[in-house]
Symmetry: none
Subunit: 202 residues, 4 copies
Amino acid sequence: MRAQRNAAAQAGSARRRELLTIAERQFATRGFAQTTIRDIADEAGILSGSLYHHFPSKEAMLGEALQEFLEGLLARSVAIVEQGDRPREVLDQLIRESFATINAAPDAVALYQNEKSFVAETPGFEFVAKLSRDIEKLWLGVIKSGRAAGEFRTDLDVNLTYRFIRDTVWSTVGWYRLGGRFSHHAVAEQYLSLLHGGMLKN
Amino acid sequence: MRAQRNAAAQAGSARRRELLTIAERQFATRGFAQTTIRDIADEAGILSGSLYHHFPSKEAMLGEALQEFLEGLLARSVAIVEQGDRPREVLDQLIRESFATINAAPDAVALYQNEKSFVAETPGFEFVAKLSRDIEKLWLGVIKSGRAAGEFRTDLDVNLTYRFIRDTVWSTVGWYRLGGRFSHHAVAEQYLSLLHGGMLKN
Amino acid sequence: MRAQRNAAAQAGSARRRELLTIAERQFATRGFAQTTIRDIADEAGILSGSLYHHFPSKEAMLGEALQEFLEGLLARSVAIVEQGDRPREVLDQLIRESFATINAAPDAVALYQNEKSFVAETPGFEFVAKLSRDIEKLWLGVIKSGRAAGEFRTDLDVNLTYRFIRDTVWSTVGWYRLGGRFSHHAVAEQYLSLLHGGMLKN
Amino acid sequence: MRAQRNAAAQAGSARRRELLTIAERQFATRGFAQTTIRDIADEAGILSGSLYHHFPSKEAMLGEALQEFLEGLLARSVAIVEQGDRPREVLDQLIRESFATINAAPDAVALYQNEKSFVAETPGFEFVAKLSRDIEKLWLGVIKSGRAAGEFRTDLDVNLTYRFIRDTVWSTVGWYRLGGRFSHHAVAEQYLSLLHGGMLKN
DNA sequence: AATGAATGAGTGTTCATTCAT
DNA sequence: CATGAATGAACACTCATTCAT
């Protein structure tokens, strides 16, 4: 109701970053709604009320985590596309980058996967839909270029193809475990191989 | 908790089925934890306390919905496998059946997708992991047979391949809309085509 | 956020009336903001959460109390004006009625006096300003008629006169005590005598 | 609590006076309990904790504001009474002084009006009741003298008359606006005219 | 089969105050 | 003089659940 006015709510604080990391992990693990402000505070070793010295609300913590994640992902995706490689190579790199992101920041990815639908209708979270759309446009552009360049099949619907790829890649966060049997590189290469050539023996 | 049943909680009741359908839709839309017993009661036109005449708890409603869904899915999957077709054909049919299930019971699918991780650690819900495993074994068996029969590539990891397929198929529930641009048949065929031959032009 | 949907929130309940009376007294004594939901629940002998079975919010309790008070006061005022007596007589009766109201429902009067300014800017409480204005119009009309009829002095500003009278009358609630030295009739007659003839000996 | 003073909390500080003015206005506008220490600090451009360098507590700010107001008012009232004019003239001057005070320090007046009942039972605020009583004695003395001198009517109760006057005068703070249609002089004269001669045409 | 009243534990949030720096 | 981090108690409100009727 009253505007945010906390000096501590500035980006700079190290403590703030610590708390956000804790929140991110808990949100990712338990779900945003199921995580209580007391859970986060407990893990940080402070009282729940003290969190409000750093963040104006629980929702703000979610928002910050999502924004950081999406802006980083978009920036890295843009950088890949702007390198100017051939579409097929660009798509492969986007996919590899996605698996690398899952490996580097599984909590943020899981958070995004789990909460994006809840967050869609929440005021103040419009940026989620917007950044998601920006990223989507990037991918769709690459796929279209690849079709035009004769690299990709044209008998498949562009949007469906994009969604199949996107869903497969990001779903990985649900079962990929750090230090598991496969490195994120291996998982990426396996998926790329399947995507390129299909499952059938020829 | 789940085992106990009121007299009125017998399987036969039509009212009971009505209430479960309402609960299923709300759980699927809002999430289990975010749905209140009052949301359900409101839509049913009764008071929240009255739900306890039909179900012993909110969790019991979730359990029943999940059980019904998973048992049906397993039964249909077993039936497909038992037809004795060649593995490639069986796999295609399993995939088609999945898309058909998404089309026929999107709430149950979404419910399962959203709550399976929460439910994993909840006592009384062991059947979820068990039935999921049964279905997984079925799919893995088909894939292995296909490899042995020389129909599928053998340079891909079986488990990874299974997970890629499973995730892609079930994720569809997040964006597939009844009466949208594509019928569930069309979506299935597009995915099968991509899965069979890959994305690259040859 | 969700609409009111409580069957118990109907006007009819006796328990509801009891709770509202308790709330009214506490709001009047301590102030609305200083009264906690637990204060009210404690006096009613229930837990604080149980109040929400009867009222959707603390503000709703305030709103109901104010509405009941203002609508009753307006109705009684209209009835007095419509009797068609001469303005001087009507004004006297309005004043007597005000003192009677203070005597009969001191809590409601004090509540209104204390909270009307807070409530002025609160969404959902527009009716307070509206009913207050309706009552004001009634009084102003009577004073103007009395001036036109040659009963009241015309060298005094109408609006100031109204406010002087209104403030004096309602302020009484701050010190008038049931069973004190003066009955409300006596207080009314003393004020009327002062208002009619002034303070100076002639 | 109030007695204790930091070194910096000496009377002389200009910053202190600034802060107190801000607090006074906010207390008057929003109410003491509804004003947070942060509201005050925000307007002053410092952090809430820093206020405690100047004042030992929020209550102490209220206490200081009230004391300053009441002591000033009492002093000015005593000065008027001690001039030795005839009671009728003294009463008029007391009333004029009251309206002038409302004009000069509306925040302090509003503060006193709003918080005097809350403050009545608060330890450390006994001076409020005492100074109020001192002022009341002054007014009652003037009225009694006027009756004895044959200037005022004797058929009205002294205490009731005093309260009627006091309430009317101070209530003005609720609607009198600086730069409004009437100067405080005009309002005073209108009220004196009504009080002297009454409302009826003779 | 349903109501209506209540419980009790918990949820996000607020806020005066303290204190090391 | 002020900051920034924290406390601890309180607050309005939510919700699954119980139970007498």
